[in-house]
């Protein structure tokens, strides 16, 4: 046999070996690509086990092919893949980003597909249903809420002579707890803080949001521009400044994984349900409670994860993708417990995996606070206005006021000017 012929046979055989598994997959199963932002080794691995369960159980031959990305990277990748005409079939992100991607033409209205796949949102609170619609059409189906609430270190609470079964419900009670748990040594050095409260970053912004709505304010006015120069905003920021100045706060930066509460050197912190797993894993003796009411009405920050379909060149995989979403929403209990998010579908909340789990006690206040949860406005320029980046006029001015570099009035005036500039930028 000539050397050339032998070479051709080897090449063809290798090509066949490489292509055959793909051909078999193409024949027996249909891939549904899914992009999500639940990163971190535990979350990605856990989610993969949930997807594996779907891949094994479903009778339609569907196979979820997940891609996990950090949230910032997800927004970038979603935009880039959409621009290249190759976005994932399903994307799982937050309701607050939906409007932006709908206006970019990336997301698909799904009312017809929901009916075809039999998606039933009965029992989901109406305010959450409304969040999922734009111009009356469903774009992103809600899976969970993850409101910000209060955590406290039971050991430090008890050491301060407080009752861990009666956590604070008002601003006054909160401050009493914070003061009781703040310890200063003989040299005047604070060795333990009452509260691990951040001046910036996500936790700083979300606490301001919480206070803004508790004092009756909102981010935007009727003119669509920033309303952060309101009396409510003034009272909210003034409260944060006074909290920082009171000496009970750790004054963290808002970035980084380790803070005073995590290290057992602060009595309280306000953060979302996703920290439950982390605190349990670290062996902390902790409790959780509904966000205290510092202002006039109960309210707390929240966001929601939702699942959306992207616009594709062909509609052949839309129904398959919607079937994946339906299954995932109905089986949200396990991700809910393990990621630390509260499912919104009644069928998931009634799942024994959720109700009987040892962590249910920690999640109970989060379920309770769904009624007072308020999202940031899902505006078209959400990722610009509510960015965690250094350009953010929101964070810059929150930090400046708390550092005493600007008065509350100056900070709010500058914040409004900066946000308005972003909103009006063509």
């Amino acid at each position: 046999m000539a050397k050339d012929s032998l070479l051709k046979i080897v090449v063809v055989a290798l090509a066949a070996l490489l292509l055959l598994p793909g051909a078999a997959l193409a024949q027996d199963s249909t891939a549904v690509t899914l992009m999500h932002g639940w990163t971190g080794a535990d979350n990605t691995e856990m989610l993969n086990t949930v997807f594996d369960r779907f891949n094994m159980d479903n009778e339609d031959g569907l196979v979820i092919e997940p891609t996990a990305l950090q949230w910032d990277d997800l927004f970038t990748q979603l935009t880039l893949t959409a621009a290249a005409g190759n976005p994932p079939d399903v994307v799982m992100f937050h309701n607050t980003e939906v409007t932006e991607f709908v206006r970019k033409g990336v997301l698909l209205p799904v009312d017809d597909l929901m009916a075809a796949a039999g998606v039933d949102l009965t029992g989901v609170p109406q305010n959450i249903i409304e969040l999922s619609k734009i111009d009356g059409e469903f774009y992103c189906l809600p899976g969970d809420l993850h409101p910000m609430n209060l955590y406290y270190n039971v050991d430090l609470v008890e050491a301060a002579g407080l009752d861990p079964d009666s956590p604070p419900t008002t601003g006054e009670e909160f401050m009493a707890w914070a003061e009781a748990m703040t310890i200063t040594d003989d040299d005047g050095v604070v060795t333990q803080y009452g509260v691990d409260q951040y001046t910036g970053g996500a936790l700083g912004r979300w606490f301001f949001h919480t206070l803004l709505y508790q004092f009756g304010g909102s981010w935007l006015g009727e003119d669509g521009l920033a309303a952060v120069d309101s009396e409510a905003a003034h009272r909210a920021l003034q409260y944060m400044v006074e909290l920082q100045d009171s000496g009970v706060s750790s004054r963290g930066t808002g970035f980084g994984d380790i803070g005073a509460f995590d290290a057992g050197r602060a009595g309280m912190i306000m953060v979302g349900p996703w920290m439950v797993n982390s605190y349990v894993t670290r062996g902390m003796n902790f409790g959780s409670a509904v966000m205290p009411t510092f202002g006039d009405v109960p309210a707390t920050w929240t966001n929601t994860h939702c699942l959306a379909l992207t616009v594709q060149d062909s509609d052949e995989n839309y129904l398959n993708s919607m079937k994946v979403i339906k299954w995932f929403l109905e089986n949200y209990a396990e991700p809910g417990i393990k990621v630390g998010i509260v499912p919104v579908l009644p069928v998931a909340l009634a799942d024994p995996y959720w109700t009987d789990h040892a962590y249910a006690q920690y999640y109970a206040p989060f379920v309770e606070s769904l009624a007072i949860s308020v999202m940031e406005p899902a505006i078209e320029k959400y990722t610009s206005v509510f960015s965690f980046g250094g350009q953010s006029p929101l964070l810059r001015n929150l930090e400046a006021a708390q550092a005493g570099d600007k008065t509350v009035e100056e900070a709010l005036a500058d914040m409004k000017a900066g946000i308005d500039e972003l909103l009006l930028d063509e």
């Binding site: 910032d72 927004f75 970038t76 935009t79 880039l80 959409a82 621009a83 970019k104 033409g105 990336v106 040299d187 005047g188 050095v189 604070v190 803080y193 691990d196 001046t199 910036g200 970053g201 750790s250 004054r251 963290g252 930066t253 808002g254 970035f255 980084g256 994984d257 380790i258 803070g259 005073a260 290290a263 050197r265 602060a266 990722t383 610009s384 960015s387 965690f388 980046g389 250094g390 350009q391 964070l395 810059r396 930090e399 400046a400 550092a403 570099d405």
Partner: protein, 302 residues
């Protein structure tokens, strides 16, 4: 009968050999050149074009002329990012060069444990920027950080909010950067030191030179070619600082660590304004180019 080669034929053969050598050289360079052209040069040209357009990645770019540039030059935040980056260059570049040189001198000594010392000093260089950022976040944390703990033992109180105070955040990032990358310069200087012929030092000794005079009249002049490499690269790297800032402060507090590279990133991939981001990139390129030319001129390299 031997055939005599005419001068014309000799020239032709020589010319063909030269071309053949060139082709071989280009063949060796081809894989790198291909990647360089596809992933750096062409995108750079597209970036320059994009800087004159309005483009949100999705859709077609629309011509805007110089409006992106005028917008940037009137943007307080962009100017602030330039000032912050210049501050970082001053804080980090000089120590990176000087300490890199001094460390190279140190590990070039014929001392016991020299190789282990070299490995230890070089070790941070192999750590990823994300890990470096997180480690230093923990070290510099205000209430439970390692640095404030030891400063507290020395009586420093109240604790310094390294990453939360606009005055200390950029120096903290510069210190992190120096710890992380100074060893890269050290290795280059070390290679330069080992290239200096020993007989120069012997000649200097015969002329009565002491250690300081050897350093001044032999080592430093002989390292000028290395300086011509290290100094511009270090300054350029400092102008492009991004990862440490992104992980440790995201440009805060109050924008005090917000650098040009972060401005470009946020404008491109958060605001999806590729035109303005590209224009900022072009300006950054022009700045680093100017710095490099001035430095090389001052060193009489060009």
């Amino acid at each position: 009968m031997s055939s005599a080669t005419t001068p014309k034929e000799k020239r032709a053969t020589s010319s063909w050999n030269s071309i053949k050598n060139d082709l071989i050289a280009y063949a060796f360079m081809a894989p790198y050149l291909f990647l360089f052209i596809v992933f750096l040069l062409l995108p750079a040209f597209v970036g320059v074009y994009a800087s004159f357009t309005k483009w949100g990645i999705i859709g077609e770019p629309k011509w805007r002329g110089l409006r992106n540039y005028t917008k940037l030059l009137n943007s307080e935040i962009f100017i602030e990012s330039l000032q912050n980056t210049l501050y970082f260059v001053v804080l980090a570049a000089i120590p990176l060069i000087v300490l890199g040189f001094l460390l190279a001198l140190l590990v070039n000594q014929k001392l016991r444990g020299r190789n282990i010392t070299r490995a230890i000093v070089f070790l941070p260089h192999v750590v990823s920027v994300a890990a470096v950022g997180i480690i230093f976040q923990w070290i510099l944390e205000r209430s439970v950080g390692l640095l404030n703990y030891y400063l507290g033992l020395l009586g420093v109180y109240p604790p310094i909010n390294w990453l939360g105070d606009p005055d200390s955040a950029m120096p903290a990032i510069a210190i992190t950067t120096i710890w992380w990358t100074v060893n890269g310069n050290m290795i280059i200087y070390l290679a330069g030191l080992q290239d200096i012929p020993e007989d120069l030092y012997e000649a200097a000794k015969i002329d009565g030179a002491g250690r300081w005079q050897e350093l001044r009249f032999v080592t430093i002049p002989m390292l000028m070619p290395v300086n011509a490499f290290v100094i511009p690269l270090t300054v350029i790297a400092c102008w492009r600082v991004f990862g440490q800032v992104f992980v440790m402060t995201r440009g805060g507090p109050q924008g005090s660590t917000f650098t040009v590279a972060q401005f470009i990133y946020e404008t491109a991939f958060v605001k999806f304004d590729m035109g303005v981001a590209s224009a900022a990139g072009v300006i950054l390129m022009l700045i680093t180019l100017s710095f490099t030319i001035v430095q090389l001129r001052a060193m009489k390299v060009i």
